[in-house]
Each structure stands twice: as structure tokens, then as C-alpha cells.
Symmetry: C2
Subunit: 280 residues, 2 copies
């Protein structure tokens, strides 16, 4: 197939590398010409294009890998130049607003959310095999054939594919991705409420792997955190409301010293985690 | 020196291995004879003792590495048999109740909290070098000489030593260790509040490294979580109250759609984390 990648960061660059290795012809574009040059130099793409008006007419498939707020505008800019049979998908971490707008703009649009990545970003972080054994949601219901082709695309780079509705996806990621960001960010923010400088310095010195893990996603990209909340507001607020109730309940058991109840809750937390992380 | 290790789990066993390698003579004991046999077989200890009445009279130093609720009872059981010059310390993760009771029971008792460990437990998980570059709090004010000897002990196995008061220690670990457990356990518990089985199954399938990290300490040993809360109740409740306020504030910015404010908070969370985890 001839495949276009728009946005050559960690995800776009890594996908391009894998698709090239699978024998596809891959073109790419980025807002920054230097990024396109870097992608060409590292062999991630066969061809760089500088304007969406020059999309190769034999392109079978385009994957939009830009930052989330650029996905719909980017599709809007390219529809006039898209060959009619071209399938378009994206990699955004919220799906309802993107799939709704995307399918209005282009009849052969379907959403994707490959759950892969690491702490790095940019084309220089791109690597082969980033997607292996990671889950990918394929979202929205255009023609069955399109869903099959996009599912096969993600499977070809090693992903486990789950088909779902956009609202189901957004509710699911509110729990396991967006809620953790807010919970973890609040942990980072709460620690500065300690009134003694001596204790605060000691806390920083004693902070260990447990703190590092729990605080990690809350110390991530603030723009991305904001966009997640903005685009997935309803599902995130629902998750936060439930979370607040659970935390208050746990706090209450400590206040009243109901230690058996606390241990029962912590045992349940332990069992539940085994279910959620079986795929991690 | 002749050093005794009481409780031969991950911490006690690993400490014994390191101390033996440094040339000390190490004896050990455990409630389970099979554990003592295993420690002898793997060369972690030179000698096993089966009853505290048989503590070798030339013992310079004893480290109590039992589960936290056993530390004070264990010291109480051994005081009648302790040679007068012997220094005793422990490795419990809460210090005020232990140091207060410990110093009443034994004039040469001082608290320690080596912040080391991994997901494993038991003598079979014991390993050389577990403590390297990890922080250790040395807590309480007996004679200066005792504090120096215990500080040197932990430094000899590679730790960074911080001297502090028991209440300072307990407030510090409430923020960076006990609060994260409750925050993370609540995340695991909250996810089951999703009403749709389909969405819950999808969430479990899509859960990725971000969820795994944030949920990890909340999926840990329930008995230990309960003991932390029970022994460090006041400091933990203080941290939880601040945490609840911070989270409510963040939730409010999402409710009213104050996206710039949310991004500012997430930026602050990002900067704060860099301070806390510099030692991780």
C-alpha cells in the first residue's frame, strides 16, 4: 500500500519505520521541514511532502499523527486534495469529538487510538517495534471494509485491536488514562501543602520508586492533560466524581479507625488491579 | 562487628548478604526455621539462632527486620537477653510509635527506615546491593555515638542517610509513601464504578503503562497499607485532607471549563515532581 503519515513525532515516526519495514511505500509530512528531513535521513519515509495539496494521488491510506488539537483542522485542510478512495485515520487519545467531526469531513474516516508511547517525543525518539503487544482501539462505524483495513494495519505492527464506539472508548480511557493523570497531578500538587520546609525537604529526599510511579503521569505534558480534559470533559468528570466518593470513603475508615474495613478495601484494590493490568 | 538480623525477609536477608560481604559476622533468626535454613544455605548468615534467649553475648548490633507490627513486641521479648552494650535498630516504615516505645524498652535503641525494596518478598528474594543509592532515615536522639554507628551501617551498604525526628519522618512519609498508597488504591477501587460491563472490559483491555504505574502502590500488600494508616493516622489524615482540597480544586476548573487554569496547575504539578523525584 501507499501510506501517508501526517505528523512525524514519536508515534508517526515509529509507525512509518514499521510500515516501511513491512514493505509499504510511505510518505510523510510535518509542519517543520527539518522533521521531514530527519525522517528521510533515518529511512522512516520514502518521500516527504511539504503541502497537503501535493498528496500523492495513489495514496491508499493516511494516518494523522499530529497533536490532538490539530487532527480535525488538519483533516479539514486536506479534504479538497484527498483522492476519493483514500482511507483516513488518526491516533488521538479522545475519540467522540474527532470521529464525529472527522466523519462529517470525510466519508472514509475512522478513528484509531494506539495505546503506545514512552517518555520521549519527536522524530529522534522514533523506534521500530513501539506498538508490539500494545492495545489499539479502532473507533466509529464507517463501511465494514474500512474497519477491517485499519484493524489489519494496526495488527501488522503488532497491536491487539479492539473495535468500539467513540463514547465507549472515551468512557473507558477516562478511567484508565485521564483520571490517573488528574489523580497523579493532584498528588504532586498536594505535597507542597506541607507547612514545614524541613519536612518538605525530607519528603523530597525520601521519595522513592513508589512515589515516582504514582506521580509520573501527573508530571507529564500539561498541554496534553488539558486537551484530554477539554475533549473528554463529561466522562472525566463522571470518573472524578466516583473517585472522590471512593477516596472519601477510604478517608472515613481511617478517621474512625475501622482498620478491618480498610484492609478489606485495600484487598479489593489489590484484586481489581490484577484484572485491569493483565494486559499491561 | 557481630551483627544480628531478626526477620529474614527481602530487607533482612538482603542486609545480611551485604553485611557478610563487608566482613561482619552475621547471625539471623526468623519465626520459621525453614527461613533460617535458607539464609544459612545461601550464605546470608554465619549462624542461625532459634530463640532470642540465645543471642550471642558479643553482639554489637541488632537490626529488627520483622513486619512492622512485630517490631516493638520483638524488642520487648529480647530485652532480658540483650547484652548491655548492644545497639538495636529497626526498619519500620512508621517511626514515632516505634521509637517512643523502643527507647522506653531499650536505652540503646534508635529507629531506621531504609527506603528500599522491590515487588518481591521473602528470603528467596534477598539480593546483594538492594540498598545502593537509596535513602535511609535514622530517627530519634539517643547518644550521638549510636546515631553515628547506625548512620555508618546504612552508608556501608550504599545508602544516603538523613537524620531526623520521628514526627518529621512520619509527616514526610505520609506525603510521599502513605498518601500515594491511598490515592492509588482509590483509583483501583473507582474503576469498578463504571456501570457498563462493556466499557469496563474495554478499559481493562486498553489499560497501559500509565495506569499500571499509577495503580501500583495501591495494589500492594493490604496488611502493610493498613498498618501504615493505623500507625501514622494523624499525618496521613492531614495529607489526605490537603489532597482532597487540591483534587476538588482541579475538578472545579474542569467543571467550569477554566482550561488555562487547568494547564497552569498541570504545569505546576510537572515542575513540583521534578523536585520530589530528583532522588529517585
Amino acid at each position: 500500500m501507499k501510506i501517508g503519515i501526517i505528523g512525524l513525532g514519536l508515534i508517526g515516526g515509529s509507525l512509518a519505520l514499521d510500515l516501511k519495514a513491512l514493505g509499504h511505500r510511505v510518505w510523510g509530512t510535518s509542519r517543520r521541514p527539518a522533521t521531514v528531513q530527519a525522517a528521510l535521513a533515518m529511512g522512516a519515509i520514502d518521500e516527504g511532502i511539504t503541502h497537503l495539496a501535493t498528496i500523492p494521488p495513489d495514496t491508499d491510506l493516511i494516518v494523522i499523527c499530529t497533536p490532538i488539537e490539530r487532527i480535525v483542522p488538519c483533516l479539514g485542510e486536506m479534504v479538497d486534495y484527498l483522492p476519493a478512495p483514500t482511507i483516513v485515520t488518526d491516533v488521538g487519545s479522545v475519540k467522540a469529538p474527532i470521529v464525529t467531526a472527522g466523519q462529517k469531513l470525510w466519508h472514509r474516516f475512522i478513528g484509531s487510538h494506539p495505546m503506545a508511547g514512552n517518555a520521549n517525543s519527536g522524530i529522534t525518539a522514533a523506534q521500530r517495534g513501539l506498538f508490539i503487544d500494545r492495545p489499539c482501539a479502532v473507533v466509529g462505524q464507517p463501511e465494514e471494509e474500512i474497519a477491517q483495513i485499519i484493524g489489519a494495519l494496526w495488527r501488522s505492527v503488532g497491536m491487539e485491536v479492539y473495535y468500539c464506539e467513540a463514547t465507549e472508548h472515551d468512557r473507558a480511557v477516562a478511567w484508565i488514562s485521564h483520571l490517573p493523570v488528574m489523580v497523579s497531578a493532584s498528588l504532586n500538587l498536594a505535597c507542597k501543602e506541607e507547612s514545614s520546609d524541613r519536612v518538605q525537604a525530607l519528603a523530597a529526599n525520601l521519595a522513592s520508586s513508589g512515589f515516582a510511579d504514582t506521580s509520573r503521569v501527573g508530571g507529564g505534558n500539561p498541554e496534553l492533560g488539558r486537551m484530554m480534559a477539554q475533549l473528554n470533559r463529561t466522562a472525566l468528570l463522571n470518573a472524578l466524581a466516583h473517585y472522590q466518593r471512593v477516596l472519601s470513603n477510604l478517608q472515613h475508615t481511617i478517621e474512625v479507625g475501622a482498620w478491618e474495613d480498610l484492609e478489606t478495601m485495600l484487598k479489593e484494590a489489590q484484586s481489581l488491579r490484577q484484572i485491569y493490568i493483565k494486559s499491561c
